[in-house]
């Protein structure tokens, strides 16, 4: 179909509108980045462009708070939680999607049902469990309770259901045991799903706020969100430093997102398809 002038005008209008929308979405980010390079006196001025560039603001953040430690804690906790979530979810999803056993659908409905329960309902008993197990204020307490997810199981089950059943049936006829089928047949084919869950899980735990907030007491365990909160309440008037810290907080997220969005988009779209 040849593109008529009318169509071209429509496309141009579309582009203009989308461009303006993009600017609206970007403006707060731009302000944040520019403010992080300003001296404090300039932050309050309307002119967004710094007159004196102050890259040393970033070094100053590291001098005032143990920002490197916050980075380490967030990445360390998110990485372990992600690893455990993916392993346990993949195994459970395999049992739900590829094995036949009595009670399977009942147990799966139980899993689905709990996804609707507000997080605050389980928060208090989980806190009590941590107190009893002496896991308050510890890496273990931050990692273990977050490592089992009904959502992850659900997401991977959806992925595994799209794999043709003939494949593992053929392997089973050849005498392969379920573990072999799982490792050699299903896991490689479910790779996009595993990657999607890993990204979602990593991002969720990297930005996790409620649980670390109630669990962490000591400075050396603070994750980025908790560290940011205390940095803001202590040095909140130094907007340029706070903005530098915020920029450093979200840069890993942006890199991860841009490099993995292919998986992320398809995963989110698949996760919403009711199974």
């Amino acid at each position: 179909m040849a593109s008529t002038p009318k169509k071209r005008t429509f496309a141009a209008l579309n582009h203009t509108f989308l461009f303006v929308m993009s600017l609206t979405f970007l403006a707060p980010f731009l302000w944040m980045v520019l403010a992080s390079f300003k001296p404090l006196t300039e932050v309050e001025q309307l002119n967004p462009w710094p007159k004196h560039w102050m890259p040393q603001n970033y070094a100053e953040v590291f001098r005032q708070v143990p920002f490197a430690k916050y980075y380490f804690n967030s990445v360390f906790i998110a990485a372990w939680t992600t690893f455990l979530q993916v392993v346990t979810s993949a195994m459970a999803a395999f049992a739900f999607a590829r094995l036949k056993w009595p009670g399977r659908d009942t147990v799966f409905k139980l899993y689905l049902g709990t996804m609707m329960i507000p997080g605050v309902v389980t928060m208090i008993p989980n806190y009590a469990i941590m107190v009893k197990m002496h896991l308050l204020d510890s890496y273990l307490g931050l990692i273990v309770p977050a490592s089992f997810t009904a959502f992850g199981t659900f997401l991977l089950r959806q992925f595994m259901l799209t794999i043709p059943p003939a494949l593992d049936e053929a392997a089973a006829i050849d005498g392969a045991r379920p573990w072999t089928v799982f490792v050699d047949v299903i896991l490689p084919l479910a790779r996009p799903g595993l990657i999607t869950l890993a990204i979602l899980s990593f991002m969720g735990n990297y930005g996790s706020f409620f649980w670390p907030l109630i669990l962490i007491k000591s400075q050396y365990l603070r994750t980025l969100p908790i560290g940011m909160l205390f940095f803001d309440s202590t040095y909140g008037r130094e907007t340029n430093l706070i903005m530098a810290a915020s920029v450093m907080n979200i840069i890993p997220m942006i890199i991860l997102f841009v490099s993995t969005q292919k998986y992320l988009v398809s995963g989110i779209q698949l996760g919403a398809v009711k199974g």
């Binding site: 399977r104 329960i117 605050v120 469990i129």
Partner: protein, 319 residues
């Protein structure tokens, strides 16, 4: 092949065990325990055995005027939901026009939702600063350029709202009319959510609308708006329904992070939502019993809303 007939029960148990044990300890057990605790006066600062108080917590809650305000706040902040859904649909429609650069736009729109969290909320505290923030600087220069005697909102410091509701008494007053802290949080939420998961879901749904439906309608000479109304919108109904239910469930649980990071629930408790109330009762006042009771009231509200929604949804869209 003999094994197949007996089912894969034993291997299945092995595969599910790691996840299921964690699920029992950190989800199922806590749900049951939480229900028990809701009927006790358990306070973390007073050690000793659990004291059962029957429906005491729930009766207190019914008379708790703060709770009524916080419920109102929670519902008020859901104004953002329809705005956000409509915006997500609009963006998805634009992006689905097979333009060049769609991936770049999609990335930009998704950015706020992907990076949302404490860092961005701290950013918005500064954007909303009534004296020095860029939002009011722009508004004020606009007012002075247009020679309007306007006064930019005090945003996070203000109890004003779109309905002119008074905080202390149930009445309406023009002094309270305007934009305040709750609206500031709503606007930020729309910015964060507009290009997020909902937009992606709409994009996926739009690509699944059968092309021949459009072709048939075009032959009938339907205009663009008629195409949307008669073809696109009905085809998107299941997606819209799904997004609405999820948003509603989320809406009742929302506001904790915003209140904790941005406002401490103020001014005059106008940004305290149910979830922030539960947090402050449990982890600042240590009233675990009362907090559990509130969380169960929240749970019941969410369940009832969801069931009503499913009933309505099943009737309206024959899916």
């Amino acid at each position: 092949m003999m094994k197949k007939n007996k089912g894969d029960l034993l291997p299945a148990l092995g595969f599910i065990a790691p996840n299921f044990i964690g699920f029992l300890i950190f989800t199922v057990g806590p749900v049951i325990f939480s229900l028990v605790v809701a009927f006790t006066s358990w306070n973390l600062e007073e050690p000793g055995p659990l004291k059962f108080v029957g429906f005491g917590n729930f009766i207190d809650l019914a008379h708790d005027e703060n709770f009524h305000l916080y419920m109102l706040n929670t519902i008020y902040m859901m104004i953002g939901i329809p705005i956000s859904i409509a915006g997500s649909l609009g963006l998805a429609l634009l992006l689905s026009q097979k333009l060049k650069g769609i991936v770049i736009y999609r990335t930009l729109f998704y950015l706020p939702s992907f990076t949302s969290g404490v860092a961005l909320m701290i950013l918005w505290i500064n954007l909303y600063n009534p004296e020095f923030g860029p939002i009011n600087s722009i508004l004020n220069s606009f007012f002075s350029a247009a020679h309007v005697a306007g006064h930019a909102p005090d945003w996070l410091l203000s109890t004003r709202n779109l309905f002119g509701m008074d905080v202390e008494h149930v009445r309406f007053t023009s002094k309270q009319f305007g934009l305040g802290a709750r609206d500031a949080i709503i606007i930020m939420g729309v910015w964060m959510g507009l290009g997020g998961n909902n937009m992606l879901l709409y994009l996926a749904a739009l690509t699944n609308v059968p092309e021949d439906l459009y072709e048939a309608a075009k032959i009938d000479g339907a205009a663009k708006w008629a195409l949307f109304k008669n073809v696109t919108w009905p085809q998107l109904a299941p997606t819209t329904f799904f997004i609405s239910v999820i948003s509603l469930i989320g809406g009742f649980q929302a506001g904790f992070e915003q209140a904790r990071v941005m406002t401490q629930g103020g001014p005059a408790n106008t940004t305290t939502t149910i979830s922030y109330y539960i947090y402050s009762q449990a982890f600042e006042q240590f009233k675990m019993g009362y907090a559990s009771a509130i969380s169960w009231v929240l749970f019941v509200i969410i369940s009832v809303m969801t069931i009503i929604n499913w009933k309505l949804g099943n009737r309206e869209s024959a899916y």
